[in-house]
Structures are given as structure tokens and as C-alpha cells.
Symmetry: C2
Subunit: 507 residues, 2 copies
């Protein structure tokens, strides 16, 4: 038996995937648990990834005609009741503000004081409060469409939390639009889904399936919910973004009405769409390996780290100067719409520790420079998408001339690797027994590492989905939008079906 | 008596300043009241000014070595008690979360359910929760300094609210740093104050006095508070930013300790500093006039609006093409670190209404283009810092060649105008009677329009400040940092004083 290769992260993905995830987050210094149950602290390295995501998404929203605004954190309790399904979906897990002051109690400890007339909830999502404002702003068809996005924090009182993937408070953006016609709102829903898919694939290097949710999985209050679904390395699905066609449901509950061109009163058609800091969890679980985080170059806080070899005093100044010039030359180049970001790490710590720190933080390129490299005017380069010991000496001029290609090549490699992984773990299944077997761990598999995406014909209903969810913890992830029409038989109902859907375990 | 000139905003500043302010906010479409008491909706035009402020400030923070991170919205109630003065300052006005669920009550209406073991407060500021994390992260002097900033929403339960100036929820940034030495923390406090002052003067075109607060006005829990104070057009002071030297107070209450180079355990020295959406209120009240908002070009959502004259069908296409080219040419130029932003307003509404809309929204330059202008290859240009009817025909080539100078000239004009206004309403006062007379409205003055900044010698204490505040609603705004040393006598105590301080009514 060959000896187990040493990895920077213990346990490995195969040994204990959930624990591996926690250790990657920790080793990359992305986030920390806070003393407030279920709330995380996003540390600078993690937050910079979020900032990079925000910049790209924000530009996409603005390029498609949206503007940003800001709506209140608090929503009057009674607003939730306006939309019947909405309240059902969110009342069970929300932070309720009941007092507006603290005072010293009998024992000198603080107690809540000044109870509010009506409790407020901390927004779990903002359809109701934004709808209320739109009702005020919209009078005529000339006031439509309203195309607004908000960057905000939201709170959903989760019982089991996990950094980035499921936290009580999280950061997100929520687009809220109002339109004069059903058609226009439908187009908006689809347009923003496409923007999300483009972001996931071309920026996060994460392949996604664009699809529609079944009624059971729909956003509370939506007529239809579109989504992008990605496969994580434990073969589970992660919903990475949603775009909802809300029909006239919220327009009716909030009173968003307008006079059309014939001066007839109409209800508006609304949409909402959002992605959150959950995307950072998706990014981690799509690319990282047993040595830690791997960040796609287009979203990396730093794309390159320069590690000068400084242990000889006589060459120290020369090496530092060479590295400083290299940094400047790299930073003058543009990749993915921004100047390349370079870290020159001159800290006086052990070289090995330093290298591993940057491996675990997922920086795409590591460049070592020592006196001998300078003699040859060459650099010792390691790619994060290759094994950690694999290094290559590259002439400085060549490295500079090809840097954007190299970064794009890493980006492409990550995308293709994730795509191949998904293909490997997606299976067309045509009968019930195979479906059950697919989602049941076999002897040699760890409980987390089995199954994948099952592509099956479907003519079932919500009750049937409940049964499957109860028996296998598997849910209908989506009905693919780009799926081929194919005549088949639903293995659960025996009814004819025109299209395959995706079932999987999910985050 | 000459007839009163017509203004786009009623009432005028002189007639009713507080109401004028509300009307300017409304006419410029900057913000709206929300159905949640004290919480505002920041509308796209207002939010874009905030985004522009954020971009400049964020770059300043990063250029001075800071990184962004994100900490929880909620703070356990008991944390507030850790710092005695801090709890005194914030317990009286905070939103308290006591439940984590809503359920249907006996009458079917929702009621709060699942009470929390310990109530949470919505952060009014984050010293305590961030201090708690720093205590965990800091072990050795090598972990210092920590230089972190957070962009966030905060909540302080205000009784009387006013859009931007005082709202229950507001947006801000809060920098929180920890240092190994007192000296370094003091330098940080001063450095960030200087960044704020530079931002106020060179971006907002708002002159400020850098100063230190008296003990009475200090941040709860700080050893010293530095501030920038600006004068509004009703001659009141507005505190536009603060930078606090927190000594070891929060390090002790949160346990931020480290081993120094001699392996001795020490408490860290911390600072915090912040500016908020209040700056938008300051910007409005510094520059706007009786025709509405005036935005300094460096922060304007759009620096230029092009208004094509389209009423003749036969010239329509030609005018539109000319304007589109003009827009493109302007947008290829850079001013204040970003591409010039241009709105081409082709809406089919009355020309006069259209012009006044942009006047009220404060766009620095309006450019009208009709068939006759095109014949001459010239533009009809109006500057927002000049009277609304003052327009000038400028050859297209000249307009383009001088555009960045023109914008900077408007920026400078606004700054100089505000500076002259402040000088006009700042008075050296050397006795108590003059001081009281200065702050007492005379016959002809409206209650809001009198006084200004009183520059007086001071050797008083907090009790004396209380008396002045009670009798005149005037407070000690700051002890100027750049003030000259000057021997004098405090008119309130008769004691000798080495420096003049600023007293004023304040927002």
C-alpha cells in the first residue's frame, strides 16, 4: 500500500467533507464564527472576494439599466401578513424587534424597555417594504419600469448554520423591478438569471444549470422561480442564485397600480432576484483541494504573490529591488477588467511556512525570486491549479508577456475541471430502483461522497417530491431551461414526460 | 418694493430653512420617508451620491493600509455593559431583538414567539463586538496593528428624525484599529481625521474645522474625540466626521492583550472613526440654493446633462446624432478619477419642465442643443453655480477642450463660496454679553437665521457647557487643532486661556 500523501488540510475531502470545508475556510482566513449565534465575521481575505464579486455584479446590473437604492432594515410585522405564502415562508425564522431602549433592571443588569406599539422584523427579504414604496411612487405607465437593486444585509433565523453557506445574517443583493406588462417582467426574470449564470461561469469558473423550480421549491409568493444550480465536490447541488417572476401577487398585496395608456387602472408585474455571500461558499467548494482554497484569478484578492528569497544578507537589497520592479511591472497590466493585484511578501518568517500560507489562501500564482534567479533573469513560478511542489523557471520577460494568458489559462482550467467533475457525476436514470440505489451510499463510500445529479423524466407532484425528500433527502433541483425535449416515462408515476429534470441532495 | 424673484423651491432658505431642506431633498428625488418610523428610503439619485462618496473614501482607507471586513449586525445585550460610559451613551436608544419567530396569535394575527435567552441589540456602533473578535485574533505584537474598516448599517432609536441628518437607521463606515503603542494609535486617530478633512474640502467642497471635542461632547468610551465641523447655510454647525482615540478602554473591557517583544503581556491601544449618510445632508445644506440641490462635480451622479431640442420633426434625427456623439466624446474624458458621466435626456416632456428638473437635481452643467446650435457647431451651456437663466453659447471644440477645467472651476467656486459664507458668519467674541446677544435672534431675523460660529477663549468645564447649552442651545463644537496660541481670558470663568474654541448651535 502506498503511503498517504501529506496534505495541508486535514481531514481531506474524502475523509470528512464537511470538516474539510471548515478547515479550508479557517486556513484561508476567510471568516470566523462570532459570539452571536449563527452570525459570522467575514475576515478581510473573504470580504475582498465578496467585494470583487460585488464590483462585477454591480456593473452587470448597471449595464442592464438598473440603479441602486436603499430601503429600511426593519419591516412592520403586519407587512409580512399581506402576502399569504410569503408569511408562511418567513415568519418561522425571523428576528423580531420589540423594544427601543435598555434600562437597568432590579439587579442592575440591563433589561429591554419601551416596548414598540407594533413589533418590527429584521428584513429576511424586502418584497413587502419595497412594494409599499413602489405603490407610492407609481402612478402612471410613464413611471414604469422601476429597475432597482439593493446591496444589503438580511436575517433569517437558521437553526443549523455553516460559514457562508447558511448563516443567520448574510450579505446579498436583491433586485426588485416593476413593469407594465407580464411579458416585460418575464423577460426581466430571464435576463437577470442569464447575468447570474454568466457571472457564475465566467467569473467564478463554476458551471451551472439554469432551470426553473418546481412549485414545492418556489420562492414564497412567486409565480415562478428560476435558478442556477451548481455541483459541489461532494456531488451535492448548491442553489447559487434565484430570479423570481412574482406575477401580480405583490403588486396586489402592496397596491402597486398604474394608469395605462388608455387611462385604465392596472396592477404592475414585479420580479425579484438575488445572490448572496453564499456564493463564497460555492466558490470554495467548487475549486478548493486538500491543500486549501483555490480562488479563480478573476475574483482573487491577489492574483500573484512574490516570495523573495532573502536569507543571504549580501543579496537582500538586490532581491528586494528586483521584486519591487517585478511587482510594479505586473500591476501595470490589466486582467479581468482590473489592474493585476500583486502581494510582495517580505515578512521574516520561515520560507516553507510562507509558501504554504499562500497555497492555503488560494493565490493563483506564486513567484519565488532568489539571487540565482536574478542572475538568469528568470522566476520560479508555481500555479495553484497544479500540485504544490510543481514549479517552473520562466524568463522574466516571457512571464510578463504571457501573464494575462497564464491567468486566463488557470481560470479556464478551473472551469473545465469543475465541468468534467459534474459530467462524471451526472447520470441519466430511467427507473425508480436505480434512482434509489444512486442516492444510497455503498460500502466503500463515505456517507457524504456518493450520488450526484440524477437526470430523470418527471411527471410527479409536490406530494411525490415530499416522499422522495423524506426517504432519500433528495430534492428536485430544477427543470433545466436549456434541456432538450425528449419523450420519456416518469419512473415515479409511470406518466409520460417531455423533459428530464435534475434531482440531487442539496445545500 | 421690488417683486420677489420666483424660485423653484418654496419656501426659500430665508423664509423657512428646515422646510426648504425637506423640499430640496424631495425636489431632487434624493430620499423618501418610509412607513417604518425614523427609517428613510435612499432613492437612486441620493444613493448614487453615497456610492460616489464611498468610492473615494474606500480608496483613501485602502491607500492608508486598511482592509474591509464585516462583523455581525447583532450584539449581545451584555456586551454593552462591558464599557461603563459606552452603555450610558447607547442603551437609551437601541433596537432590541427579543424573539426569533412569529406565530399566529389567538385572533389569527401574528405575535412574536420563541423568546431569546439573551436579547440582542442592533448595532448602534461596533466597538464591543469587534473588540471581542480582536481579543481572539491578537496574541503577539506581530498580530498588530489591525487596520480594519466596515461599511454597514447602524441603528440608533432617534426621537426626532430628519432625512439624512438624523435617522433611526443610517449607513456608515466604521474603522476599528488596534495598535501596540499609544503613540501609534494617536497617529492613526489624527491620520484618519486628516483623510476626512481632505474628503470634505476637496470632494464635497465643504470647508471644515478640524478640532478636538470637549469631555462633554466626547464619544462614550473614548479618551479623546477628534472631529471635523462644517457650517451650514443656516449658520449652524454640523459634525461631519469623528475619529476617536479609545486609549486602552475597550482593550481592557474586551480583553485585547498581546505579548510584546519582551514577552510581557500588554493591552492594545485602539481607535475608531466614522462618517455616515449624514454627509449627504451636509452636502445639501452647504451648497444648495433656492432653486434646489447643487452637487459638487466630483461627487455628482451625472456631471452633465444634454438636453436636445427635438420639437421639429425634420431636425430630430440630426440633433439626436449630434448629442449622442457629444455624449460619447465627453464620456471619454476623466474628471476626479472617473470617466465623466453624462445624461442625454430625450424624454418627451415640456422643455421648461425638463430643464427645471435638472436644476433641482443639482447637475453641474446643462447643455442645450438645437438645430441652430448645430449649424454653428456650438452648445448652449448653463452652470448650476450661476443663476438658472444665465446661459452661454460655447463652440463645441472649446467646450470639450476645457471641460475638466470647467468642472473644477465649479467645484472651486462652490468651495470658495462656502468658505466665504463661513468667514462672514464667524465672529471673535470676548465677553459674555456679546456671546449671548450673538446667539439670540433679533427682530428682523427668522428664528433659524442668526448667529454663526463664535470664536471665544475658554477655560470652562462640562457644567458650564451645560448651562450654555440650556440657556442658548449652543454647544462647544471643537477646540481647533490648527488654532493659533493666543493669550486671553475666558469670558465665562474669567480664567486665563491659551486658545480660542468654537461655539455654535448644531445639528
Amino acid at each position: 500500500m502506498s503511503s498517504k500523501p501529506q496534505t495541508a488540510i486535514t481531514p481531506t475531502r474524502n475523509e470528512d467533507y464537511p470538516e474539510w470545508y471548515q478547515q479550508v475556510v479557517r486556513a484561508a482566513d476567510l471568516a470566523d464564527n462570532s459570539p452571536v449565534r449563527g452570525c459570522m465575521v467575514i475576515k478581510p481575505w473573504g470580504y475582498t472576494i465578496w467585494e470583487n464579486m460585488q464590483k462585477v455584479l454591480d456593473k452587470k446590473f448597471k449595464d442592464t439599466g438598473h440603479v441602486n437604492a436603499y430601503f429600511p432594515l426593519f419591516i412592520p410585522m403586519s407587512y409580512l401578513e399581506k402576502e399569504a405564502k410569503h408569511v408562511e415562508g418567513f415568519a418561522k425564522e425571523c428576528a423580531v424587534v420589540t423594544h427601543s431602549r435598555l434600562e437597568a433592571g432590579p439587579d442592575g443588569k440591563l433589561i429591554p424597555a419601551s416596548p414598540l406599539e407594533e413589533p418590527l422584523i429584521v428584513r429576511p427579504t424586502s418584497e413587502t417594504i419595497i412594494g409599499e414604496m413602489y405603490a407610492k411612487w407609481v402612478q402612471s405607465y410613464r413611471d414604469l419600469p422601476i429597475l432597482i437593486n439593493q446591496w444589503a444585509n438580511v436575517v433569517r433565523w437558521e437553526m443549523r448554520t455553516r460559514l457562508f453557506l447558511r448563516t443567520t445574517e448574510f450579505l446579498w443583493q436583491e433586485g426588485h423591478t416593476a413593469h407594465a406588462t407580464r411579458q416585460e417582467a418575464l423577460e426581466e426574470t430571464r435576463k437577470m438569471l442569464n447575468e447570474y449564470a454568466d457571472f457564475a461561469e465566467n467569473w467564478m469558473a463554476m458551471p451551472v444549470i439554469k432551470g426553473e423550480k418546481s412549485e414545492r421549491e418556489r420562492f414564497p409568493g412567486a409565480d415562478s422561480t428560476l435558478c442556477i444550480e451548481a455541483m459541489m465536490q461532494d456531488r451535492k447541488a448548491l442553489q447559487a442564485g434565484t430570479s423570481h417572476f412574482l406575477g401580480q401577487n405583490f403588486a396586489k398585496s402592496c397596491g402597486i397600480q398604474f394608469l395605462d395608456e388608455n387611462t385604465e387602472r392596472q396592477y404592475a408585474w414585479t420580479t425579484s432576484w438575488g445572490v448572496s455571500t453564499r456564493l463564497i461558499g460555492a466558490l470554495i467548494m467548487t475549486h478548493s483541494d486538500d491543500d486549501g482554497l483555490i480562488v479563480p484569478p478573476r475574483l482573487a484578492p491577489k492574483q500573484i504573490v512574490i516570495l523573495p528569497v532573502l536569507h543571504k544578507e549580501e543579496s537582500r537589497a538586490q532581491v528586494l529591488e528586483y521584486c519591487t520592479n517585478l511587482k510594479r511591472d505586473l500591476e501595470s497590466r490589466v486582467y479581468g477588467g482590473r489592474a493585476i493585484e500583486v502581494e510582495l511578501d517580505t515578512r521574516d518568517i520561515r520560507g516553507g511556512d510562507k509558501v504554504w500560507q499562500w497555497v492555503k489562501r488560494g493565490v493563483p500564482l506564486r513567484v519565488e525570486v532568489g539571487p540565482r534567479d536574478i542572475e538568469n533573469d528568470a522566476l520560479f513560478v508555481a500555479r495553484r491549479d497544479c500540485p504544490p511542489k510543481e514549479k517552473k523557471s520562466i524568463p522574466r520577460a516571457e512571464f510578463l508577456a504571457t501573464i494575462t494568458d497564464t491567468l486566463q489559462n488557470i481560470q479556464d482550467t478551473l472551469f473545465n475541471r469543475a465541468k468534467a467533475f459534474r459530467a462524471e457525476h451526472t447520470k441519466k436514470i430511467d427507473n425508480r430502483a436505480d434512482f434509489y440505489a444512486y442516492f444510497t451510499p455503498k460500502n466503500k463510500e463515505t456517507p457524504e461522497m456518493h450520488g450526484g445529479f440524477a437526470s430523470v423524466h418527471w411527471a410527479g407532484d409536490s406530494a411525490m417530491e415530499d416522499t422522495i425528500a423524506n426517504e432519500l433527502k433528495v430534492t428536485l433541483r430544477c427543470i433545466p431551461l436549456d434541456g432538450e425535449t425528449e419523450q420519456g416515462i416518469c419512473p415515479f408515476t409511470g406518466k409520460p414526460s417531455q423533459q428530464r429534470v435534475i434531482f440531487a441532495k442539496a445545500y
